[in-house]
Symmetry: C2
Subunit: 225 residues, 2 copies
């Protein structure tokens, strides 16, 4: 707050309660250790939000930190981290997969995005049982659009998402190096439509950003904010 | 190549010539210092590319490195770094603004994005003279769409970009904290239409990613890749 916002006592500041409303507070005191902020007002999120359930490959910890950050920044509801063929075994042993270690990246993302809903993170070390058995049981799975970003796909998202009245969507984003055919096929069998993010090969956190921003635009369907 | 791709001698590898074609090469020898790659074939970029001229605020060096990376990764042609009201003076003194220091980030981005066109970087320490005098003189400025990402904008990009037959576009992305009214107005006077990237406040490199990916989708206008 002091370094980036140059906050001083008496300033108003945007605040949010974790998994609750956002609002405005006044800084009562601030030093390098802590800030005391008095709540002035709080209000529920004014705009209806799309619910995004994200399925994302477990990547190198360096990249996974950014995936966590972006997911929180962009308002994802749940983040299912899955082991894919191109997930190296060592990644599964990363301390980052423990809640106390990944939580700071989620909180940073919420703060940047002015979001308050903390994404719920699930870890799935086995690809096939997750896709075949667990995924179809998730709330909303059967009636919601399911899409998977794939470099080789022939269509952009606006050809894949015809229905613009959904309120929930499942998005799958692959690992560095992409999906393997077995994964593509299993996702397809379970209702996932492939789409392309464009001609460039994006690093995972940027692919995720591109996908979420395209989803939001298509979901809004040319309407005003 | 050894760490990420696990390349060994004899492997085929994707290659690209700077500002030239892409293709396939064969690794003749590789060690921790260098790899010798023999060109097997090269071909011009098969897909027509949109030309993006990017105008981006000078940000903290930590963020600017990522802006450079993303611009190169996503195929931007030119990158005009401008001083905005919220650009702190110290940022202008960053060594990162010298070509020998920013070049590695551009090359990393090209490599990730499988691009070969090196963005040309220009530095503009004065906002108003750049927008009023230099910008209108840039090739294609008068006849190309001009858009500016702004958190407060009421429209998504698919309401702002009606014409889908352009081959060049000017995109402006602001600093952390956003544009000030004077900047908004000056850009508007010079033909820039505001658009919103969505409900979240994105850090600059992610805002840039979102904007470029939305542009690419709208430009393709629902057509197949």
């Amino acid at each position: 707050m002091q370094t980036v916002l140059h906050s001083v006592a008496g300033d108003d500041i945007e605040i949010g309660l974790l998994n609750g409303p956002r609002g405005i507070g006044r800084i009562v005191s601030i030093d390098s250790q802590e800030a005391v902020v008095e709540v002035e007002r709080l209000q529920e999120h004014p705009v209806p939000q799309l619910t995004v359930d994200l399925i994302c490959a477990i990547t190198r910890p360096k990249i996974l930190r950014k995936v966590l950050y972006v997911a929180a920044m962009m308002g994802v509801r749940s983040l299912h981290l899955i082991r894919t063929n191109r997930t190296e075994k060592s990644y599964l042993l990363s301390p980052l997969l423990e809640a106390e270690n990944y939580l700071p990246y989620l909180l940073d993302g919420l703060s940047q995005g002015r979001q308050t809903r903390l994404p719920v993170v699930y870890l799935h070390p086995l690809f096939r049982p997750f896709v075949e058995d667990e995924l179809p049981m998730l709330p909303g799975f059967s009636e919601s659009p399911k899409i998977v970003a794939d470099l080789g796909a022939g269509n952009f998202l606006d050809r894949v998402l015809h229905e613009r009245t959904f309120s929930q969507i499942f998005l799958a984003v692959g690992p560095e190096g992409g999906w393997v055919d077995f994964e593509r096929e299993l996702l397809s069998v379970h209702g996932f439509s492939q789409f392309s993010l464009g001609q460039a090969t994006l690093r995972v956190e940027f692919a995720l950003t591109a996908a979420l921003s395209q989803i939001e635009m298509v979901w809004n369907g040319g309407s005003r904010l």
